[in-house]
Amino acid sequence: MVKIRLHVNGMAYEMDVEPWHTLLHVLREQLGLTGTKKGCDLGQCGACTVLLNGTAVLSCTTLAIRCQGEEILTIEGLAEGDRLHPLQQAFIDQFAVQCGFCTPGMILNAKALLDKNGDPSEEEVRRSISGNMCRCTGYVKPVKAILAAAEMMKKGCSHG
């Protein structure tokens, strides 16, 4: 076991992990942050997406020990108390959530896009979530939601 320090959603945690433990495992099983989902554990489906210093990564193929000193954002850290992030609000408004299992990963990939490019084209939005597998929505309403969130953020609503 190795002692590491992780910064998750603005809080610092000290914990013992095995060197081979993935960030996904540590988030879910040790920190109880189960909003990040395990869809395949193979780096293929995108359900485990978190942001590492603002960049979307697959937490199931990221080692926990390599994340020391990095700012980790999971879905639980996106809202500010009662106030949802525009992406979260847009996913609700646009009916883009069905079973919800792909939703956290998809929202975080979209956040990584919108934080870099506040006015994406539909093609760019599709590309940003092309690694998020979804079986329920056909991606139609999620894409609409991300574009709607971009509009909200352009109008200066930092949180819906």
Partner: protein
């Protein structure tokens, strides 16, 4: 005075959406209990084998291992009732690559996996069979003691045979007769959430199982059966489910395994399928050999239809017999005076099956759609004209089920045709090359399934502030049933949608519900919820007339937007919350509480097959690149007869899933087995290709045809299961229209190029 509906047909935010976007929605695999152990299963590497010996001694010594079970631990040995007694939790024979052999519970998944490697098993490999017609031959390896023809009851082999009219006479009168054999392929459901179960026993010997399924009551009944427990000692709770589409209906060995491990270890045990396990063990689409024959007059009048269906059911029958019966009841969806259907379900050593959206009719309507398309070409008829002439009419008995249903096929076909511009766009096969060099094709297909089944109950309880709790066994798989039921509550009770709280799918808390299948929830649970609300509303109205005074009778009252008021004198009103408060709390010192405000309702579908179904139409345009073999769906129009619309966004959302189940089935998805070993070759996303956000095309918002369903609450009926069922024939026919040749599904570029080269057509 009829003010129209207050809530139904309008859009409200889904009840579960906020929890899901916050990451707070709990699925079975998210629950962590103190002392919880992690389970892994040892699985057979052989498609068919006897287990001669299992030695777990080395595995037991591994630090961190808490319990191991093998078939020796399954005592008493009780077969699964829901699978016609062909399966046990663990046994000495394995029947497909991946079948459970043993299981370990340990303090971590890694240690459990390491322990699996230390279990020594001596197998006697047996010959295996993977094709249903081969499995029926006399010399085929016997998969179950009773033979490979699945039995309905232990000793009676099942064959469904029924004839209406005389197909022999019908064929004799036909000008054109076509006979074809179709084999439909294996598709994986690929729910994003792999199946998960968490078992915990308490000190009264009661098992609680949190489980990802489509209905906790059937799971409870089966677990009580195989574990030898009374129902009162088993509680099944279904949290949010991350998609299912049919694969999570049955009670699996895995649930029995996790219960036994938890009992042996004396600690809670969680078992979560890996993605590979979900794709193989977690069941697949039923695959069929369908031998179809159709006879018609030159003017397109159908004279005879004959179908022989062989189901490749895998090694566990589960719903294999019911799916044959369902297919018989629901197909063909064409008017034909003479028709015959014969089906049997056959055991094979392929991965197991359960159900997949379009239960039996998806595959049959696919094959029938291709056959009718060929017939149209043979007689020189535009398919649209053929479908408008021959689709089953509303309330016309059809298939073998013969139950009249309201089905608005005509309007669905006409509106789809108008939307896509069929008459302007259709051309003869192979005739249209686009300026970009690709071949253009347009095709259509029809389908539809059941929209009611079995029985459901609901209870509604009002709080002293006028808010309500709905207790409903309906499981939230993603289809939005919590929200839809809340809309019905708001409509009937007159409370606000926001004031409805739903307690879901817990056998200890919610009344019986048969599970979320067959698009049954809108009608069966919807009617139960409506009944419960009417019961509660009656109690409120009785109290309200006392409070309003002046000779008002309950029949004079209406409830809407949080108020109870006299229909003819709207100013004579009282708040629902005020009524509830007096009823439940009284008003000290003079008025005492009346009691509790609880309403109950239930609904039983009046017949089998159910008298409610839906009608779905797809029309599709494709572009095919003859150099690369790439097929692009460029436009897809859907229409569904959905009865009265309760949640328009809900239906839209369901119909957008056609991308995955329908287009994926057509173009990219196939679960491949190694033909010599029966092992699945592509159980992960890498090699099993499901559509991604880049596989976009112009998907028209679904056309909602609002017939009025007399059996449904407010005229509504369910439509979700059939959402993907008309896409396969539509796409197949569109590809034929583009190229003038048939390509087997999934129509990968390789198959298109091969077809072009070998069939030599397509100018």
């Amino acid at each position: 005075m009829d003010e129209g509906l207050a809530v139904l047909g309008k859009t409200f935010p889904r009840k579960d959406a906020e929890a899901k976007v916050r990451g707070g929605a709990q699925y079975a695999g998210d629950i962590i209990l103190p002392g919880m152990l992690y389970a892994k299963c040892l699985r057979s590497p052989y498609a068919h084998a006897n287990i001669l010996e299992i030695d777990t001694s080395k595995a037991e010594k591994l630090p961190g291992v808490a319990a191991i079970i093998t078939h020796k631990d399954v005592v008493p040995k009780i077969p699964f009732e829901g699978s016609k007694r062909d399966t046990y939790i663990l046994e000495e024979t394995v029947r497909y690559v991946g079948d459970e052999v043993a299981a370990v519970a340990a303090v971590s998944e890694e240690i459990a996996e390491e322990a699996l490697r230390l279990i020594e098993v001596a197998y006697e490999e047996l010959p295996a069979v993977f094709d249903p017609e081969e499995a029926l031959r006399g010399d085929a390896p016997k998969i179950h003691p009773g033979g490979n023809l699945a039995t309905y009851l232990r000793d009676k082999p099942f064959t469904f045979t029924r004839e209406i009219g005389s197909v022999e006479e019908g064929f004799a009168k036909s000008d054109v007769v076509l006979e074809r054999t179709y084999r439909t392929h294996m598709q994986s459901h690929v729910p994003m959430e792999p199946r998960a179960s968490l078992a915990a026993w308490d000190s009264t010997g009661t098992l609680t199982l949190w489980d990802s399924n489509q209905g906790p009551f059937e799971i409870r009944a089966e677990l009580a059966n195989v574990l030898g427990l009374p129902l009162s000692k088993v509680r099944v709770i279904t949290p949010y489910v991350g998609g299912s589409f049919g694969c999570k209906i049955p009670t699996f060995k895995a649930q029995g395994i996790v219960a036994l491990l938890a009992k042996k270890a004396g600690r809670p045990v969680r078992l979560v399928f890996s993605r590979e396990e979900q794709s193989v063990v977690g069941t697949r689409r039923h695959s069929w050999t369908l031998k179809l024959k159709v006879g018609a007059k030159r003017d397109g009048t159908l004279m005879a239809y004959d179908a022989k269906a062989y189901l490749n059911a895998g090694p566990i029958i589960f719903l294999g017999i019911i799916v044959c019966i369902n297919q018989a009841h629901l197909t063909p969806k064409f008017s034909c005076p003479n028709r015959r259907y014969e089906a049997c379900a056959v055991y094979t050593n392929c991965p197991p099956t359960s159900a997949f959206r379009g239960f039996g009719y998806f595959e049959a309507d696919f094959a029938i759609g291709k056959l009718m398309d060929e017939l149209c070409e043979e007689i020189g008829m535009d398919p649209l004209d053929f479908y408008l002439k021959n689709h089953i009419k509303s309330e016309e008995p059809y298939g073998m089920g013969q139950v009249p249903r309201i089905l608005a096929f005509r309007e669905a076909i006409q509106r789809s045709a108008e939307r896509i511009g069929w008459k302007e766009t259709w051309h003869k096969p192979g005739e249209k090359t686009l300026p970009n060099g690709k071949k253009h094709g347009i095709g259509m297909g029809i389908s539809g399934g059941n929209a009611a089944l079995g029985n459901s109950g609901a209870v509604i309880m009002m709080n002293e502030d006028g808010s309500v709790r709905l207790l409903s066994g309906a499981t939230e798989l993603g289809q939005g049933c919590q929200s839809e039921m809340s809309q019905i509550v708001a409509e009937v009770l007159g409370v606000r949608y926001e004031d409805v709280f739903v307690v879901s799918s817990d056998t200890a808390m919610t009344p019986y519900d048969q599970s979320q299948v067959a698009s049954r929830t809108t009608v069966t649970m919807g009617n139960a919820v409506k009944g419960a609300c009417e019961d509660l509303r009656g109690q409120l109205f009785e109290e309200a007339v006392r409070m309003l005074g002046g000779g008002v009778l309950p029949g004079d009252l209406r409830a809407r937007d949080g108020w109870i008021y006299v229909a003819e004198d709207r100013e004579k009103k009282i708040g629902i919350a005020d009524v509830a408060k007096i009823f439940l709390e009284g008003k000290p010192p003079k008025i005492v509480p009346k009691g509790v405000l609880i309403g109950k309702g239930s609904y039983t579908t009046p017949s089998t097959p159910p008298p409610v179904g839906n009608a779905v139409v797809n029309m599709v345009e494709v572009e095919v690149d003859k150099d690369t073999g790439q097929i692009d769906v460029v436009r897809l129009v859907s229409a569904v007869d959905c009865g009265k619309v309760i949640s328009p966004k809900g239906i839209e959302a369901q119909y957008e899933s056609v991308l995955s189940g329908g287009v994926g089935f057509a173009l990219t998805e196939e679960l491949l087995l190694d033909p010599s070993t029966g092992r699945a070759l592509n159980p992960t996303f890498l090699d099993y290709k499901i559509p991604t956000a880049l596989d976009c095309f112009e998907m028209d918002p679904v056309i909602m045809v609002e017939s009025h369903e007399r059996h449904g609450p407010f005229g509504a009926k369910g439509v979700a299961e059939a959402a993907m069922a008309a896409a396969a024939p539509a796409i197949s026919n569109a590809i034929y229209n583009a190229l003038g040749l048939r390509v087997d599904f999934p129509a990968t570029p390789e198959k298109v190029i091969t077809a072009l080269e070998t069939q030599g057509k397509g100018a």
